[in-house]
């Protein structure tokens, strides 16, 4: 059984879940337990990737709204614009525009990501200074120059490779 945090207690009350497992405020340590939502019945899901919610948003309707639901069984030409909007709000919580409205979450995400990357950079810098040993002596510039000279002396890859780029008469790289 999934436990959902009590964010929409009112909405859950309307869904008739309180009968199953209400907020137990009578705990000895005074904390309240999350409402166990009844997952064996369909829920109202309002997500961009879930276009058709399983149940309408409002289940318990007032007298006016019940009358409106009866009226909409007839011809829709007789419904005013306000009535059509009221019917929409009975069926759905938000419009697509409201549901898909942009938020500032990306700033939080980007900021926290960069903070963690920065912290990781500090860790790496510490490692580079305190943990990682020095480079081998064969990677010094002097050694690398001697190594290159020896490769040219040996005429490595004289047809298309390294030695083919060296001008042996003028002792310099070919232009």
């Amino acid at each position: 059984m999934l436990s959902l945090p009590v964010l929409r207690a009112g909405f859950l009350a309307r869904r008739g879940v309180l009968g199953l497992a209400a907020v137990r405020a009578t705990h000895s340590h005074g904390k309240s337990v999350a409402i166990q939502e009844n997952m064996s019945v369909p829920h109202y899901i309002e997500k961009r990737n879930y276009p058709l919610p399983d149940v309408p948003y409002r289940r318990d309707l007032s007298v006016d709204e019940k009358a409106l639901m009866e009226k909409q069984k007839g011809s829709w030409k007789e419904l005013s614009n306000e009535e059509k909007l009221a019917l929409y709000r009975i069926k759905f919580c938000q419009t697509y525009v409201e549901m898909n409205r942009p938020s500032n979450e990306w700033k939080t995400i980007l900021g926290v990501t960069f903070m963690f990357l920065g912290f990781t950079g500090l860790i790496l810098a510490w490692q580079r200074y305190y943990v990682i040993p020095n480079k081998p002596h064969t990677l010094s510039d002097e050694w690398k120059a001697k190594q290159l000279k020896r490769m040219l002396d040996m005429r490595t890859n004289p047809v298309e490779g390294l030695a083919s780029q060296w001008d042996y008469d003028k002792n310099e790289w070919k232009k």
């Binding site: 020896r150 002396d153 040996m154 005429r155 004289p158 047809v159 298309e160 042996y168």
Partner: protein, 78 residues
């Protein structure tokens, strides 16, 4: 009632797709093979023939010997 749309293609869809992609695959494969042959292989063969046309192995050996890379023969100065 809105005007009728033209009837879409109902049959032979996979065949058409396979033909299109088979032709493309052949063109791509042969094309890349030809590009490699005439862009890489042929120039390389020419470079090797050019290099070895007037290549004097003895002179090349002497040059290497003078550079001091051998262990079995020292440069002539020694």
């Amino acid at each position: 009632m809105s005007s009728l749309l033209p009837k879409p293609q109902m049959r032979g869809l996979l065949t058409r797709r396979l033909r299109f992609h088979a032709v493309g695959a052949f063109v791509f494969c042969f094309g890349s093979a030809l590009i490699y042959k005439f862009g890489v292989a042929e120039p390389r063969k020419r470079a090797y023939t050019e290099y070895y046309k007037n290549h004097d192995p003895v002179a090349s050996f002497e040059a290497l010997r003078e550079a001091g890379v051998f262990e079995s023969v020292r440069p002539k100065g020694k």
